[in-house]
Structure formats: structure tokens, C-alpha cells
């Protein structure tokens, strides 16, 4: 039954309920707002073995992070188009977005051609990615489970930052080039 003058009904219970609902809705909105979008698919492609290797050097010597396991590094075609520029007499390399560099980590020190790696560590150039460090997304894939993990803390980037200055690996970067975090840059043969 509505009042003759058409005024809306106002009761304390309704007001209290409205208040309660507002509180619940606020909580809901906040909770939903806090949800993050899930990643879409793996970052490292399965068909990478046809890619070029960045170095022919046998990577079987121990290094921090990979200890004494054998390694092999491959780069996709986007990455082979890395461009160099010179600023203040310093050569600076920059890999285009979409570059993927995959380092295969094998069980033993010796690497056999057909052997499947134990794990993959990858660098995906995507400066806009929220978990990118130094413009790269650092990824580890466990080949046993197939699961990928983005390493969004210092571990990978801290070490690879050494590639941008003289270091003990490969050509040692004695010219102090900015190598865009890559120890073994691809050079056309």
C-alpha cells in the first residue's frame, strides 16, 4: 500500500539494510578491484630449437646461478635484428621488443646435441610488461613439469646487469658496451 501523496516509504530497518548492503558492496568492489589478470599462455615457445645460437662457445664452465651445468643459448629472429647506436663514445645495443633469448640448462656439464634440457631460462623483451626488469621479462621453465615462473626479483637482472660492463665471460665486453643485459650478444656469422 503506497501513501496517497506518493512519498517513498522510509523506515529505519530499510535504511540500516541499505547501509549494510553498501558496506558489503564496497567490500566486494574493493575485493574484485584487487584481482589481477592471469597470464595468457607460456612466454617461452616450444619450437625454439631452430633458432640461431648466440655463441658457438661451449658453455660448460661453472658460473654463479647455473653452477657447473652445461648451457646452450638461442635467440629468435626478432632478436637477431638488434641495433647498435653510439652515445658519448659508448656503443649501446638495444634488442627490439619481441626478442626472446632462451638458455637451455642441461643435467650434466657436457651437452649432447639431441639431449633434452633440464630447464630453460629465458629473456623476453617486453618493456611494458608489469614484471619486466631492465626491459626484459625473466622466465624459468621447469621442463619436467612444463611450468613457467617469472623471476621478478633481483636475482636474474642483478647478475645480467654485469653484461653491460666488462665481465669475465665470452668476449668480456672489454669495450664497455651497453649490451642490454646480454652476456653473449648475437653476431651474424
Amino acid at each position: 500500500m503506497r501513501p496517497a501523496d506518493g512519498r517513498p516509504r522510509r523506515t529505519g530497518a530499510a535504511g540500516a539494510l541499505a547501509l549494510g548492503l553498501t558496506g558489503l558492496l564496497t567490500g566486494l568492489v574493493v575485493s574484485l578491484g584487487g584481482c589481477r589478470k592471469e597470464e595468457a599462455g607460456p612466454l617461452l615457445p616450444g619450437e625454439y630449437r631452430s633458432w640461431d645460437r648466440t655463441t658457438d662457445q661451449v658453455l660448460d664452465y661453472p658460473i654463479p646461478g647455473h653452477e657447473d651445468r652445461g648451457r646452450r643459448i638461442l635467440i629468435n629472429s626478432t632478436g637477431t635484428g638488434a641495433a647498435a647506436s653510439s652515445e658519448s663514445h659508448r656503443v649501446s645495443w638495444e634488442y627490439p621488443a619481441g626478442t626472446i633469448i632462451i638458455k637451455e640448462i642441461f643435467a650434466g656439464q657436457e651437452v649432447r646435441e639431441a639431449e633434452q634440457p633440464l630447464m630453460l631460462t629465458g629473456m623476453v623483451k617486453d618493456p611494458d610488461h608489469p614484471q619486466a626488469r631492465g626491459g626484459w621479462v625473466w622466465v624459468v621453465r621447469d621442463m619436467t613439469t612444463g611450468g613457467e615462473q617469472i623471476i621478478d626479483w633481483e636475482f636474474c637482472v642483478d647478475c645480467h646487469a654485469n653484461a653491460n660492463e666488462p665481465h669475465p665471460y665470452g668476449d668480456r665486453n672489454e669495450d664497455n658496451e651497453f649490451r642490454d643485459y646480454v652476456f653473449f650478444p648475437y653476431r651474424p656469422r
Binding site: M1, A13, A16, L17, G20, F155
Partner: protein, 474 residues
């Protein structure tokens, strides 16, 4: 049967639940958000500070300047006593408190690159089984955690110091983590502030809920519960026959409208109640049953005051009305007392009906009682006397009249006969038809039969004069 739960309690329950859920949710959300922000800000600050210290240590160590790093720790501790900074080796022993590292580096070089020290500060080690330390070393990532020590709260960050390529020149490449920087910050004031925030939010919540519950409860009592109770009391009064009370709710809402409706209903009930005094029981019954008309066997009872016209001409009007009402009243009471129903009053005449298994006996007893009562108290009735006629027969019982005004009454030949018997009865006399007499013969003393002519009947009919009740054998 479910127990009676007052609406006031239900309303109060709704209010309390709504307020607790609503306001409690909002206050809890903001209180915990504030505390979370406080925690996150503290964590962020500590992480940033640990990053800076990490870079400082790294840069001091690269040129082999370990004493600079040690001095940095000492200076930071002196500057801010709330900080406890320690660099542990990956085996959990505090760095720079022995010559182990120097000896390892010199061993790698094959010569004494760094001179061993002779004086060391007091050594500390991480607690055995420190899970956070193990995770920092094995997982190679920061560990931030809160702990209480001696009644104080600390945020501690374990930050692994990696064996970077440029470190491996001195320390070799056989390991990934060189050590762990531990920075513990005393956050006791922050924790105290958080507890205070929760306590204030709790007190505020309780106060707001109590005040709002009280106000809303009072408001609802005024606009809803009290009017409903008042309406209920009026309705309850009506069931007891109290038609004088009215609902005094003047609010312009559903409750006010309900009050008006109830008032109209009470007024209508009151009018119907008053009108029912002027309507016979059988009429009311037929109205309830929405009866249209039916043939039924009944005893017709007619009583008429003798010489009333001459009496009314001689006496003053007040005496006439008073005397008439007295005679009619005593007769009506006796009729009702014996299970009869007054069909109508026609001037000084009463038309009554009796039905049921003993209707003849009830009608005769009624007549004898009336004559007895009036004859014994002549002064009370100003000497007025009645003549009574009783007959039994099948009559038509139904609503007779127009749409605007109708009576539920009996019609038929037995009615006319009873009326004629009444007309033939002299003052104080009771005349009954033959069929009525046959039914009560063993209960009464009577004279007759006498034959009288009745209008509408071709021949004379047998009638009996009732004299008194027959005494029952002892």
C-alpha cells in the same frame, strides 16, 4: 506451535544485524586498510633502505674495501639505533669476524692478496634452523618477516648478496650466494599504532551501533510498533464489545491508512451490533448463511396485549410506551429463555418462532410462564394482559421485502392460523392448535377441544386452552 515473537524484537534484530554487517564491514575495511598501508609503507621503506645498503656494500666490496663496508654498518647502527644491520656469510656466520674469507680469496689467487687480521669484533650467527635465512640463501630472493623479541616487534629483511660475475674474480664461481644482509627495524611504535587504530575503530563501531540502534529503535517504535500495538488494542476491545475506542494514528503513511480503515471497520461493526438488536436471531443466521428461502416445520407463537388501544388512549404517552416495553420485554426474555426467537414486533403484538425437537413443549412453557408472570404482577404491567395463540406447521422461511428494506420472516397458512388463535384468545388465555396439544398432552392440563372458525379455513378447527403444567408423578 511456534512461539510468539514481538515485532519490536524482530525489528531490533534487523537493525542490529544491518548495522553490525554494514558499519562493521566498512569500519573493519578501513581500519585494516589503514593498518595494511602502514605495514606496506614500513616494508617498502625497509626494502628501499636494504637496496641502498646492498648497493653500497657491493660497491665497497668490489675494490676489496671490506673495512669500508664494516664501517658503514657501524655508522648506520650509531645513526639510527632502531636499525640492526648484519652481514652474514651464507653459512650463517657474521662476515668480517674472522679470516675465513680472506684466506679463501688468498687461496684462490695463490698469494697473499689481503693481509689476515688479528683483531675481530664479537661474532654473531643466525639462529640455528632460521627458515627465513635458509630460504634467502637457497631461494636467492629477499625474505621479509615480522618477529617479536623481548616484547619488541621487528621487521627483518634478509637480502641475499649474490656472487655476481664481477665478484667471482676474487670469490670464484662455485657458489651463487655470497652472503645475506640482515636489516632488522624496530617497528614497535608501528605495531602500537596499529593496535590503537583497531581499538579506536572497535570503540567507534560499538558506539555508532549502539547509538544508531537506540535511535532507529525509538524511531521505529514511534512510527511502527506503537501504532500497530495501539491498533491491536482497539481490535481487542472490539472483541470484548468495546466499540468506544478509536485508533488515534494520524501519520500519513500505510499505518495511518490502516488506522483509518480500522476505525471505519469498528464504526461499521458498532452500527451492525446496534442494528442486530432489532433483528431476530434467525434473520442474522440466514444473513450469515446467505439463505434465500426454505420450507420448514416450526411452531408459531403469537402474543397480543388485550385492550391496549383503549389503554393507550387513556394513559399518557410515556406510560403507554413504558407499559408496552415492559410487557414486550418480559415476554421476549421468556421466549429467548425457552429457546424461541422473536421474529418481529407488530405494535403490541409479538410474533415468535420455535424450532427443533421439543418446539411445541418450549412454546407452551413459554406461554404459561408469560401468563403466570403477568398475572402475578398486575401493577408492574398496569393491569395489561395478553392473549396467546400457538400453532405448528410447515412454513416458508425467507427474506421478504424490497432490496432497500427486507425482513427475514415466516409466511404460510400455519402463521395465519396461529394469528387467528391469538386473536381468539381472551386476556390471560392460551389457545393451541390440535397438533400442538397432541405433542404436549402429557405435560399440560388443558381444556378442550373447542371448535372455532378461523378465517381462511372452510371448516371449524379444534383448539385447546392451556391451563397449567401437569405435575410430574413423584
Amino acid at each position: 506451535m511456534r512461539p510468539f515473537v514481538p515485532v519490536a524484537r524482530k525489528v531490533n534484530l534487523i537493525i542490529v544485524i544491518s548495522l553490525v554487517v554494514g558499519i562493521g564491514g566498512v569500519i573493519a575495511y578501513f581500519a585494516f586498510s589503514q593498518n595494511r598501508s602502514l605495514t606496506e609503507t614500513t616494508e617498502l621503506n625497509l626494502t628501499q633502505q636494504s637496496d641502498i645498503l646492498h648497493q653500497s656494500i657491493k660497491n665497497a666490496m668490489l675494490p676489496g674495501e671490506a673495512p669500508i663496508a664494516v664501517q658503514l654498518f657501524t655508522d648506520v647502527r650509531l645513526t639510527n639505533p632502531a636499525y640492526e644491520i648484519v652481514l652474514y656469510r651464507s653459512d650463517g656466520v657474521e662476515a668480517f669476524t674472522d679470516n675465513a674469507t680472506i684466506e679463501a680469496v688468498n687461496g684462490l689467487f695463490g698469494y697473499t692478496a689481503f693481509e689476515p687480521k688479528e683483531v675481530f669484533p664479537e661474532s654473531r650467527a643466525v639462529m640455528t634452523g632460521d627458515e627465513y635465512f635458509r630460504r634467502a640463501v637457497d631461494g636467492r630472493r629477499n625474505q621479509l618477516f615480522q618477529q617479536s623479541v623481548d616484547g619488541k616487534s621487528f621487521f627483518t629483511i634478509y637480502k641475499p648478496l649474490l656472487n655476481l660475475p664481477k665478484c667471482s674474480g676474487c670469490h670464484g664461481s662455485s657458489h651463487t650466494v655470497r652472503g645475506v644482509i640482515s636489516i632488522a627495524s624496530d617497528i614497535t611504535p608501528v605495531v602500537r599504532q596499529q593496535r590503537s587504530n583497531l581499538a579506536i575503530a572497535g570503540v567507534f563501531f560499538i558506539a555508532v551501533v549502539l547509538v544508531l540502534t537506540l535511535l532507529l529503535s525509538l524511531y521505529l517504535q514511534r512510527i511502527l510498533v506503537r501504532p500497530v500495538k495501539h491498533i491491536g488494542a482497539v481490535c481487542e476491545g472490539v472483541t470484548r464489545g468495546d466499540f468506544d475506542r478509536r485508533v488515534a494514528v494520524r501519520s500519513r503513511d500505510e499505518i495511518g491508512a490502516l488506522g483509518d480503515t480500522v476505525n471505519e471497520m469498528v464504526q461499521g461493526l458498532y452500527e451492525r451490533f446496534q442494528l442486530s438488536k432489532f433483528v431476530s436471531s434467525s434473520t442474522l443466521q440466514s444473513i450469515r448463511n446467505r439463505e434465500k428461502g426454505a420450507r420448514t416445520e416450526m411452531v408459531l407463537f403469537f402474543s397480543d396485549i388485550r385492550s391496549f388501544t383503549s389503554f393507550s388512549e387513556a394513559a399518557d404517552p410515556e406510560t403507554v410506551v413504558d407499559s408496552l416495553n415492559r410487557v414486550l420485554n418480559v415476554q421476549t426474555k421468556i421466549i429467548h429463555g425457552n429457546g424461541g426467537d422473536v421474529d418481529k414486533y407488530v405494535g403490541d403484538e409479538i410474533v415468535a418462532v420455535f424450532s427443533g425437537r421439543k418446539m411445541e413443549e418450549q412454546a407452551c412453557l413459554t406461554a404459561l410462564e408469560i401468563q403466570n408472570q403477568i398475572s402475578r404482577n398486575p401493577d408492574q404491567y398496569h393491569g395489561l394482559q395478553v392473549g396467546i395463540g400457538i400453532n405448528r406447521g410447515e412454513v416458508i422461511l425467507g427474506m421478504v421485502g424490497s432490496e432497500e428494506r427486507a425482513d427475514y420472516t415466516v409466511i404460510g397458512d400455519p402463521v395465519n392460523t396461529a394469528s387467528r388463535l391469538c386473536g381468539a384468545a381472551r386476556p390471560g388465555m392460551i389457545l393451541v392448535s390440535e397438533n400442538v396439544f397432541a405433542a404436549v398432552e402429557d405435560r399440560v392440563r388443558a381444556k378442550g377441544p373447542a371448535r372455532i372458525r378461523v378465517k381462511g379455513k372452510e371448516g371449524a378447527v379444534n383448539v385447546y386452552q392451556l391451563l397449567a403444567l401437569r405435575r410430574r408423578p413423584a
